[in-house]
Symmetry: C2
Amino acid sequence: LHLDHATLEQLREWEQSLSEQYTAFQQAGLNLDLTRGKPGPDQLDLSNALDGILQNNYKSSAGVDVRNYGGIDGLAEAKALFASMINTKAEDVMVGGNSSLALMFFAVQSALYQGVNGSDTAWSKESNNIKFLAPVPGYDRHFSVCEQLGIQLIPVSMTDSGPDMDQVEERVKADPLIKGIWCVPRFSNPTGIVYSDDVVARMAKLPTLAGENFRIFWDNAYSVHVLEDNAPELASIMDDCRNEGTEDGVYIFGSTSKVTFAGAGVAFMASSPANIASLTKQMSFSTIGPDKINQLRHAIFLKDRESLKNHMAQHAAIIKPRFDTVLDLLNKELLDCGMATWVKPKGGYFISVDTLPGLAREVVKLCAAAGVKLTPAGATFPYGNDPDDSNIRLAPTFPNIEEIREAMAVFVNCVKLASVRQKQSTQ
Amino acid sequence: LHLDHATLEQLREWEQSLSEQYTAFQQAGLNLDLTRGKPGPDQLDLSNALDGILQNNYKSSAGVDVRNYGGIDGLAEAKALFASMINTKAEDVMVGGNSSLALMFFAVQSALYQGVNGSDTAWSKESNNIKFLAPVPGYDRHFSVCEQLGIQLIPVSMTDSGPDMDQVEERVKADPLIKGIWCVPRFSNPTGIVYSDDVVARMAKLPTLAGENFRIFWDNAYSVHVLEDNAPELASIMDDCRNEGTEDGVYIFGSTSKVTFAGAGVAFMASSPANIASLTKQMSFSTIGPDKINQLRHAIFLKDRESLKNHMAQHAAIIKPRFDTVLDLLNKELLDCGMATWVKPKGGYFISVDTLPGLAREVVKLCAAAGVKLTPAGATFPYGNDPDDSNIRLAPTFPNIEEIREAMAVFVNCVKLASVRQKQSTQ
């Protein structure tokens, strides 16, 4: 039954049966969690060989003793591996610690206070009202980096092929204090879409339209996190930037957090060699160097692009059934009833659902009261403010299939219940 | 022969024989390095068991899956271990990544821009001319944190029992924009002295004399790095601060960089529980959490205070002969000749030598030209400016005994040569 075709009487009956079902969920004492994009224990098991993989040989292929100090830009074999992961060159890459968020925070904070290229280029010298574009829905931790550093976030719309580039270009042309844009270009967080070649090409031109010292923050977190064989490839923004002469205008980030160990992987950053030189210099004030032992472990374990691809196929074999469980229940229960829309992702970590306007908070609240934790409504928007109050991010990797089935039964019940009640109240 | 008792003729002969010796060194094509405080490969070997120590069990004692995200303040067993290392409580401790310098930079930068306790307490809001006290000689990387962040460094004198507290107290009372002081309280870098109980007690009162939001940066880098059984203990500044009610006024730092692996150890920070709560909140904007796997490895490997002490005794057995080689040559060649003074350290990583005023640069230059690299003269002072041009930091841990003997032969030759020449030029 489509919501818009239901009679008042049908709505009343519907509400009643949904309410009864909801009460039963509440009484079941569930404790389920679809919030954070955490790998499940079985995914983590895939990389258990990491600890001990060195077999007492702490030398890199170039003979570096990885136990000692030094090498602030990272180990050569780690650079080569990660360059292949994001389709760029090893000399574009610096390899850090366990957190790509730390590299992003570092890059934004350095640009703000110390400058992207010498202290004259510090954004804070230009204005105390620096702004970033935030394609929405997006990743809350990107937004909180800016919020913490006093950078204003301006939402721009996402489409099925990436940010709405007309909006993006218009904004940066109109305001030179817009110094950055947050992007998750492949399997976007949360919508799962992949930026089209055209979007990537227009993105590569952005630094020529924007104010001075503009940077694209290209968080390629899910570059190899494929769920379907026919998942679209992502064009190499570095190639496009080199064609445009804008290679200083992009900072690329990535990590193995969802390849090996979420808390103990290796993060990296890529940009023009000139930027990498400037960034490593900046970084030398705050560390003697990254954990090269963990970098060497990862270089040995993941080896090369082909071996990495095989490893990711093992992840997909584990998590695709979890995604399918979510999608099957959405399809079965919510398709063509006018209550929700969603995108079927071909990779990444999330399924993004849009409820009817004004219901996301209500659905999250109903789910919580029935023992199912969801990412807070609004989290995918700057300042937690989803103007439509409709976007909900589901993260199905951590729970097992049975837990997902239970959680999704509650979720679809709550979406229906909230939708029917809203419809009733407007009749 | 004492320099001051030499006749002109004796000086001439002395210069000639030293010059001949120096020329011979130059021709020997040496390539030796006494610069950085790096552990030697044999020291690093002591901790080789770390990789693989988990034996495929990635659970903490509390059942935390250390492979996954979370736990921004660190693992419970790592907190307990490091609290015992610096004589404080586990709840005072947060455990981070591989770099204590990163924690120091974070702490200074956060205090400057985000505040020590809410944004109203940001030093940058009070003034753009924030200052730190720098006991000299000191650690160059402390100074460069401040230089990078635009914080002015004011040198204060070191004594054999710590910073000259009369100077320190007078300065902070006179200028509320002095917001911090850098301390290496046990086996100070570079002089090797240990702060006396009286100095620690006066330090703990400092926050009551200083301007608002003042912090002591207590870099206890060498807390367990004992070379002699009779090495003086360091009083617990946290105990003293709790007695004074100033526990919010101190940030303590430490790491296992010179306990296990220099580049892949575990760093930590301690302060009042209120400060730790505020700091972990700040840190949550820039990372999901530290590498808990490496923390667990360390907790298992180093186990407890007693086991840590035994481990450090193995380090001492390796490096004490290196320190003795340096000291023996200094004693044999430079004692009572009026050309240099030094402190015999009972722990730590350095031997600090003072040449006659105006000769440190010359000695470092002479050594370099004969193939012996030393830490640049002036590096132990803010802005690289040693007003007496006399302090040279020797780091004897990395080279082997034979290399140290060769390097020190050059060093004493250069000290004598520079001193005799200076004496000649003033006759």
